[in-house]
């Protein structure tokens, strides 16, 4: 039989994958990979804040990465002279460093930095799992509710705005959803690998999808498959769990490239 901790890890990882897959499609379609990375890097600052204030850590991460997203919006408006990827680079590394500095200042807490950077899914509690699935369900419900206007904005923002879609509101909602994924995925794969859960399953799903909705569902399935395969692999070969999940996802992506080649040739 499987140990309880392993079952909890499976539930946690698949819960994250179910939300990260469909949301990752929008990240891939809108070329937001670096944006996701930036929010993920800010998560360490959220950890520090959570420890400082005695908050539940994912809540601290959610607050800080949502704040980083809003800060990016403000900077984009204030300084049209700097390209978005420059701003992202500044935010990303400044917040990561600030997080490390803050953790250094919290001399009275013993911090396992590796657990935050690369995840520690085998240590999740039952309430963590419940929180992950609650966040995934809420995130999916929001995503489903704004799916069509968000897709219209993804196709062409000017066209959507000219047709009366409040594009800004939907963009902000998308950013907050990404922040939500980061808050719950940190425990599973860690800060440095979170973006991979967003983009690798979505990129792999492209080969099999004929519509945006199909791509979202397939991305969720590929992410789930990678979570299960990665966790069993880590159990079997005694490898770190978070990176094992990402390796499994990357392997599935490789297979999808082969499948695409077979399909286009056949």
């Amino acid at each position: 039989m499987l140990d309880d901790f392993f079952v909890r890890a499976l539930l946690a990882a698949t819960g994250v994958a179910v939300l990260a897959g469909p949301l990752g499609c929008f990240v891939v379609w809108n070329r937001m990979a670096y944006f996701g990375d930036t929010l993920a890097h800010s998560a360490l600052l959220g950890v520090g804040l959570g420890l400082l204030l005695g908050w539940h850590l994912p809540l601290g991460v959610l607050v800080v990465s949502a704040g980083a997203a809003m800060l990016l919006l403000l900077l984009q408006q204030a300084g049209p002279t700097l390209a978005t990827d420059t701003l992202l680079g500044i935010l990303s590394h400044a917040s990561l460093s600030l997080g490390l500095v803050l953790l250094g200042l919290l001399a009275w807490v013993r911090v396992d930095l590796m657990a935050y950077l690369f995840g520690d899914v085998l240590a999740v509690s039952a309430s963590d799992v419940a929180g992950i699935w609650l966040a995934a369900a809420a995130g999916l419900a929001v995503l489903a509710a704004i799916w069509r206007p968000l897709l219209a904005i993804t196709i062409n923002e000017d066209l959507a705005r000219a047709e009366g879609i409040a594009t800004r509101r939907y963009r902000v909602t998308l950013m907050l959803l990404v922040a939500t994924v980061i808050a719950v995925a940190m425990q599973v794969v860690g800060i440095l690998l979170i973006t991979s859960l967003l983009i690798i399953p979505a990129a792999g799903a492209r080969a099999f999808a004929r519509s945006p909705e199909q791509m979202a569902v397939i991305a969720a399935l590929l992410g789930t498959l990678a979570s299960v395969a990665g966790l069993f692999g880590s159990l079997r070969f005694d490898t770190p769990s978070g990176p094992s999940i990402v390796v499994a996802a990357a392997a599935l992506f490789g297979l999808s490239l082969l499948a695409r080649r077979v399909r286009t040739e056949g």
Partner: protein
């Protein structure tokens, strides 16, 4: 989703922005039809980094009217269009649209990333759901019915514009805005496209606003031409504008020829792809 009105985006009028040369009214007799306009722009001015892009521009489009804005590149046509569509706020002047009107917009060009798996049919049905029947009818009108199941990223520029026109028509627009609709359409296809736009105007009873830098437009199919070079140089019926000194100064004698070109009689018709339609007496326009 119902279209929220674009009305009354207001900006403070700055003193001293009135141009010395007020736009000459070429043809007061052929002025806009009476009644409230679908959209009305008054005294629009905008500057970017100290460069004046538009100064004191007035524009209005009424129901059932085809208005063409022509002007050289850099003359502010695209900026004016973006202000009209509510994508950019002007520094001065105001935009007022009739409450609750639906605006159909056909952008100049659009890129669909191949990473987005999107069929043409799905593009037409986003964000609003449409039945296959509706899609087929709208696509047939613009000659794109056979493209419905193609991936959207595989279309050529001309195909894409006709697909986007079909998409705009699905919203049953009161006002149809087309940015450079003749790009990617060859010379022979222009007449067919203009005929189509005229047909759409009749079918939907909408106002149409076209923007073009190209002199090769079928000016004869336009009710009113607005010649724009940062300010409105001249406006009126195409025949009069073509003879106007401001227009000739902007476009030179070629401008005159461009108009003449479109008064010549075709001895055959073309479809939207530019193919000559057989038999020669099939004059019902694009299929």
């Amino acid at each position: 989703m119902p279209h929220p009105p674009l009305n009354s985006r207001r900006a403070e009028a700055r003193p001293g922005t009135t141009p010395a040369d007020a736009p000459p009214e070429v043809s007061p007799a052929k002025a806009s039809p009476p009644g409230a306009p679908l959209i009305e722009l008054r005294g629009i001015g905008i500057a970017l980094a100290g460069r004046v892009l538009l100064q004191d521009v007035d524009l209005e489009v009424h129901r059932g009217e085809i208005v063409t804005v022509i002007g050289p590149n850099g003359g502010g046509k695209t900026t004016l269009l973006r202000i009209l569509l509510g994508l950019v706020a002007p520094d001065s002047g105001r935009v007022r649209s009739a409450p609750g009107i639906a605006v159909g917009y056909v952008p100049q060009r659009m890129h669909i990333d191949p990473v987005l798996p999107l069929s043409v049919a799905r593009l037409l049905a986003t964000p609003h759901r449409r039945s296959r029947d509706e899609l087929t009818r709208a696509a047939a009108l613009t000659g794109t019915a056979d493209l419905l199941d193609r991936p959207a990223h595989s279309l050529s520029g001309g195909e894409f514009q006709r697909v986007l026109l079909a998409r705009a028509l699905l919203a049953r627009p009161d006002l149809l805005v087309l940015d450079e609709p003749l790009q990617g359409v060859d010379f022979a296809g222009e007449a067919a496209l203009y005929e189509l736009i005229g047909k759409v105007r009749t079918l939907y009873g909408c106002g149409v606003l076209l923007v073009s830098h190209d002199l090769h437009i079928v000016m004869a199919a336009t009710d009113r031409v607005v010649c724009l070079n940062r300010h409105v140089c001249c406006t009126g019926a195409p025949r009069e504008v073509a003879r106007h000194s401001e227009y000739l100064r902007l476009f030179g004698p070629r401008g005159d020829q461009a108009y003449a070109l479109y008064e010549h009689r075709h001895d055959h018709d073309h479809d939207l792809q530019g193919n000559v339609l057989e038999p020669p007496d099939a004059r019902d326009g694009p299929s």
